[in-house]
């Protein structure tokens, strides 16, 4: 417990350590801390800015979506109207076409029936002549009475 040279030794050791700490330890560590503090502060500010941006972007996006929805609705409405129109047009066209085809078919049928009637008339007159020939084999000369028979066939 006596005071001796250790005291001087310790003082010197302390001054050396303090000097070393002042030169090579304190500045880099404190710089690093302050730099990191600045980085963190910057990062926080950036994050806040980002958040703000996000909120704004979200509002914008909502607006755009609402617009799009409105537009979609109107397009849908238009499409519905157009579809109805087309259906109506189609219906009207169909009716017209049906009428046209109906009249054409009717005309065809008339023609066919006229033709058939003509043929039938010819055949009937031939049959009539044949049967008349069979009945009146002698009296009636086909060639001599041809004009009468033709008139008859026309009347039939």
């Amino acid at each position: 417990m006596d005071i001796n040279l250790t005291l001087i030794g310790q003082s010197i050791a302390m001054l050396v350590f303090v000097w070393f700490c002042m030169k090579f330890i304190w500045p880099p560590i404190l710089n690093a801390i302050e730099e990191r503090q600045k980085q963190i502060a910057d990062g926080l500010a950036a994050a806040e800015q980002g958040q703000d941006k996000l909120v704004r972007a979200q509002a914008e996006a909502n607006e755009i979506v609402a617009d799009a929805r409105k537009q979609a609705t109107s397009i849908l409405d238009q499409a519905h109207g157009r579809a109805n129109e087309i259906v109506a047009e189609g219906k009207a066209g169909g009716v017209k076409e049906r009428d046209r085809q109906l009249t054409a078919a009717k005309a065809d049928i008339e023609q066919e029936s006229n033709k058939a009637r003509e043929e039938l008339r010819g055949e009937v007159s031939a049959i009539a002549i044949a049967s008349a020939e069979k009945i009146l084999q002698r009296e009636i000369d086909g060639a001599a009475h041809k004009d009468i028979l033709g008139k008859l066939a026309q009347e039939l």
Binding site: M1, D2, I3, N4, L5, T6, L7, I8, G9, Q10, S11, A13, M14, L15, F17, V18, F20, C21, M22, F24, I25, W26, P28, I29, L30, N31, A32, I33, R36
Partner: protein, 282 residues
């Protein structure tokens, strides 16, 4: 413990004395280096205190330097985070108390805090481990807690004392330093009949202020020394108890962790306060 193991001295008084004996080296009258017969010799050196003190200082220096070298990497490791917490804590303490600009005070405070903490922490190593290991290698005495050596604490507080005077003179000039010692706390009269009393007042002031100034390093070092010495002594006494030392040792060690940290902090804080007083202009 040692008395039971048969390694150490016989009686408990011897055991305690042995534990409180420094490993000393000095020159005798014939100029030869001798070991351990240096009681009262002012030129002796306490080798164990010096060794552990420098060793722990180097631990501090190397640990913090290794972190300081790596700080450029962006992602701090665990050691770096720990070191930075301590540095930030010391920096905060310095900034709270010291309002001048000094490149010295913060590193000084850091060195004192960590170094004294490490030296105090040696108190928590069971009292027989290192002395027994040392005696096994032929070293008769080994006091492992440098702060229980009054030379070590005085060495540090005298370095602080020198810095106090240096800062006072640097910030207030030599005249300011003298004025601080002589014109406080009673301002001497400057005119009239009171001038006769002025020398006495100045002398009174000088005595008062000198005591106050000298009390700073003395109280600084004795506070640390007293706390650590008492703590170490109680550890030694507990170690004498045989098996019953275990719970007691644990309890005292837990309590001592507080003292170890607190004393390191107080030494640092008072150093900052003294130096800030020295730099403040009234």
């Amino acid at each position: 413990m040692a008395s039971e193991g048969g390694h150490g001295p016989q009686t408990s008084g011897d055991y305690i004395a042995h534990h409180l004996q420094n490993l000393q080296v000095c020159k005798d009258e014939s100029g030869e280096w001798i070991w351990n017969h240096c009681a009262g010799n002012p030129m002796a050196i306490n080798v164990d205190s010096m060794f552990w003190s420098v060793f722990l200082g180097l631990v501090f220096i190397l640990m913090f330097r290794s972190v300081a070298k790596k700080t450029s990497s962006s992602e701090p490791g665990k050691l770096q985070a720990f070191v930075e917490i301590i540095v930030d804590f010391v920096d905060g303490s310095v900034k709270d108390t010291f309002h001048g600009t000094s490149r010295l005070i913060a590193p000084l405070a850091l060195t004192i805090f960590v170094w004294v903490f490490f030296m105090n922490l040696m108190d928590l190593v069971p009292v027989d481990w290192i002395p027994l290991a040392a005696s096994a290698t032929g070293i008769p005495y080994m006091k492992v807690v440098p702060t229980t050596d009054v030379n070590i604490t005085f060495g540090m507080s005298i370095a602080v004392f020198v810095l106090i005077i240096f800062y006072t003179i640097k910030n207030k000039g030599v005249l300011g330093f003298i004025a601080e010692l002589t014109l406080h706390p009673i301002a001497p009269p400057t005119k009239g009949l009171g001038l006769i009393a002025a020398p006495f007042i100045i002398a009174f002031n000088f005595i008062l202020e000198s005591v106050a100034l000298l009390a700073k390093p003395v109280s600084l070092s004795l506070r640390l020394f007293g706390n650590m010495f008492a703590g170490e002594l109680i550890f030694i006494l507990i170690a004498l108890l045989g098996i019953w030392q275990l719970p007691l040792h644990f309890g005292w060690a837990v309590f001592h962790v507080l003292i170890v940290t607190l004393q390191a902090f107080i030494f640092m804080m008072l150093t900052i306060v003294y130096l800030s007083l020295a730099s403040e202009t009234h």
